[in-house]
Symmetry: C2
Subunit: 538 residues, 2 copies
């Protein structure tokens, strides 16, 4: 029997078997919205009917400029389930990027929330394909005035429709969501996910959900990662598939609000970048709060400081598990520990957590040198990380932006890494950030990690500066903590002995603020531009 | 990227990421064989090379007449991974059935072990397609004499080959294993499983593996279900995919030997029919033994007595979770409890366990009447159980045996069931076993369960006897426990009040032994033949 893997099956399953299980979401306005999977399913069917009424056809792109709310969750089913493509858009992008990707995707509808409405208003005149903008709220919360003509109300659209829709079966390799990479160079590139890839990745992660709880359905999932980042790591699919409670933080990432959700809603598993946890743990320490249900937080995007991993485990009983992932590779590794890892001494457990994890079934990793020759996985050889998996995108939307994979079909991740004999991946740098000195590679990340260990340092960034003899030498750019002081020579002295001596930066420069990308990452390209004429004293 | 789901990926993954994790198997000779996934992977590659050398081509069927040993495990990869089809054959079938299915499958090679060699010797003259018989043992254990000409030695074949083989990628819907249903009427019918279906079902079960253990890889799996029954519930794939230890019981199901493995090898999850547990718990009670690691036993094939479920949970801390499954439907429901179920009082927890479980994601269940009209899922309406899932076989090998699905594409399970408002399926009877009395259905299983509650009854079977007024009326056929006594009227009196009075059997007959099928199930067809001229006193 040739039955396809369809995303709609997840919400239909949840409604049928976990119909009274809760979905809790913080609205943009700040209050908590509660309903259950049966209600959510009814609303996704109303949404699918509303889209049909607006003339949406299979394959059409529908944009969402929205945070982690229950209506955005509904779009993951109402849009994709009906055969259209949900284009999740990062509201943190700059206006010109937003305009580019919405026009490039040819979004026919654009869904916004109370937080992103002003963005839509600002860019609307430059959007060439959007026919309607839909405000994701109830009628009473529609804006009193807006520059957008004919702004539609999401809840009104749904209220006009029957709560029954026959989810169609179609090719499981059809696109379900579209996500643009926030590239630091060139135009953003669209990555299409399919029904097949989204469900396979969710199935791949599923065993981790059950860890430490009596059964899968007893877990509660909260994606701190936004839904516009790789489908919020498939949590919007995973929770209904397993029938777990789902908690959505809206757009409020203030530590007290996150704690209210994580603890109050008995969350067991969450995911996101380490930044959330840096802020949250500081707040927890100050306020003396603890977690009683949270077990695991999947972490990706950047390496967490060791002290964070230690604090979370020792003081809060939460495992911060690093995963490797990128937009083009929905799945990825995760720090599934080896059997017996739980019995290791604390320090060794943390050592393992500081690596980017070991592959889950379905993923293959390899390292290659610049010439594409495979390198040993001995924990020492640093090479370009390559990944292969059934859910990896090999090309970009509309065929633009070149191929994502190399000649052997392995995804070019842009990461430099080592892989040790246990299979743990350790990222050493981004290929484009590594500092090439005397034919060798100096890891900018390693320099930054060591420098960040100094109590006066808030953030550190290492970049390569052209050098007549060595090709490049490292410059360390630093922002200081409020009221703290350290000199360049003092900082280099602090770093000595913690790194090979030839890795030590040639100079340290202090700045008030680091340039950040639209997704809040350190923008090294900008930093390099800023220091492109910098001359190292020789 | 169009990368297929290939079974070979599981053993390759296990070797790469869990290379030193153990596979423990009891040999047919009785000793324990230990090796690890890295070694197993090397041997599966040798096997794939050996098959190529013997001229095996993709799609060819390779028969295995074997118990749960490490070599049989290797065949799940060496055969299927190379593109050939592993035809697992039930050694408990009668000789004529074995001959029929091996010839029908056109097996080119037949793999046997020390326990099944005599069977192969007995039927070999009637096999029309088998070119070689391979004895799964090391050279030293080859039989001194055999009637089979040119009997090959498995380990010798492997030793001649390199331990490297490039697992090919091909259509994931290609057949991986072939399993004949042990139908009680007509010829056995071949059910083909595909790479896709086997892996999807394994992924579907995976979250249950992690229950109660720190992580998936910390689990230890032991399939008590034989590998010739629906791939041993995908355990041979599941364990390598998650990197868990795998324990294989060989063919020795003596309680002390099972206990030695379950406890000694720290098994956390097992699967099989309740019969194993009836024998094992009796032995445990007698010997005062307990389990310290076993958490869950998935159960299917027949309904376990309530007392067994209670004993396992109360005295041994083991959850006996009923799953629904059949050869045509690899996956199935499993008693994934609803959130909060663990906090229910003991009696209510057991109530839930007595049902056949709730669907896991991917499965849909419905009930229909004789006319195919859908019935309500209210816990009361009894109907024909229908199942839909991406891994269900809709037709049989070579197109023989009719369609397995109804006109709407739902699998005809042959079971009668109720589904309650929580989605729990409760089997009431096999369609062909139900007793039709006065236009109503009497569940033969229900009669048997109640009768079995009498301490003198070893086994009870209810069959319909033609009745001039009521169409059919129930006759209860009973075997007694050694030394125990009960009369027919006493037994009916015992049953009164526990069932609707019109369900009570009209008569009780005592026999020394029940007729059993090749798979050890009660053979009701034979019993009905035996009593076909029985006349009920009116």
């Amino acid at each position: 029997m040739d039955m396809p893997l369809m995303i709609s099956a997840a919400i239909r399953y949840a409604a049928a078997y976990h119909g009274s299980t809760e979905v809790v979401a913080r609205t943009i306005e700040g209050d908590l919205h509660r309903y259950d999977y049966a209600t959510a399913h009814a609303r996704t069917q109303q949404l699918a009917n509303a889209l049909a009424r607006l003339g949406v056809k299979p394959g059409d792109r529908i944009g969402s400029l929205a945070w982690n709310t229950h209506r955005h969750f509904e779009m993951f089913y109402g849009v994709s389930g009906s055969g259209a493509v949900l284009h999740t858009i990062n509201p943190r992008l700059f206006a010109e990027q937003l305009v580019y990707i919405i026009n490039h995707a040819e979004d026919r509808l654009l869904f916004v929330d109370a937080a992103t409405l002003p963005l839509a208003e600002a860019i609307a005149p430059r959007l060439t394909t959007v026919e309607h903008v839909v405000m994701m709220c109830e009628p009473a919360r529609m804006p009193a005035r807006t520059s957008l003509p004919g702004l539609l109300c999401y809840d009104e659209l749904l209220a006009a429709e029957p709560a029954h829709y026959d989810w169609p079966d179609f090719d499981e390799r059809s696109a379900s969501t579209l996500c643009y990479t926030s590239g630091t160079t060139g135009n953003p590139k669209g990555v299409l996910y399919s029904h097949r890839s989204a469900l396979l990745v969710a199935l791949q992660i599923a065993p981790m959900v059950a860890m430490g709880v009596p059964n899968g359905a007893a877990a509660t999932l909260m994606p701190m990662a936004p839904m516009f980042h790789g489908n919020a790591w498939q949590f919007p699919y995973l929770a209904p598939m397993l029938g777990t409670r789902l908690v959505l933080p809206g757009r409020n990432y203030e530590p007290d609000k996150l704690y209210e959700l994580l603890e109050g809603e008995r969350v067991t598993l969450t995911c996101g970048v380490p930044t959330f946890w840096l802020i949250l743990t500081e707040w927890l320490q100050r306020s003396g709060k603890k977690f009683s249900t949270l077990r695991t937080s999947l972490s990706s995007g950047s390496a967490p400081p060791r002290s964070l991993v230690e604090t979370m485990e020792r003081d809060h009983g939460v495992q911060l598990m690093q995963a490797w992932g990128m937009t083009e590779a929905l799945g990825g590794s995760a720090a599934t520990s080896k059997p017996g890892a739980a019995d290791l001494p604390f320090e060794q457990r943390i050592d393992a957590r500081m690596r980017s994890g070991r592959a889950l079934f379905g993923n293959r990793y390899r390292l290659v040198d610049d010439a594409g020759t495979e390198l040993p996985q001995d924990g020492k050889a640093v090479g370009h990380l390559r990944v292969k998996a059934p859910w990896i995108s090999s090309a970009y939307f509309k065929g633009e932006g070149g191929s994502a994979v190399d000649e052997q079909g392995w995804l070019k991740t842009g990461d430099l890494a080592t892989i040790d004999t246990d299979g743990y991946v350790s990222l050493t740098d981004r290929s484009k950030d590594v500092i090439k000195s005397g034919g060798e590679w100096i890891s900018s990340i390693e320099l930054e990690n060591v420098a960040s260990g100094h109590p006066a340092v808030l953030q550190a960034a290492a970049i390569g500066i052209t050098h007549p003899k060595w090709q490049e030498r490292p410059l360390l750019v630093v922002t200081l903590r409020e009221g703290a002081q350290v000199t360049g020579p003092e900082l280099i002295e602090f770093m000595r002995g913690k790194l090979a001596s030839w890795w030590l930066p040639d100079a340290v420069e202090f700045v008030d603020q680091m340039p950040l990308t639209g997704t809040g990452k350190l923008w090294k390209l900008k930093l390099r531009e800023q220091f492109k004429d910098y001359v190292l004293k020789t």
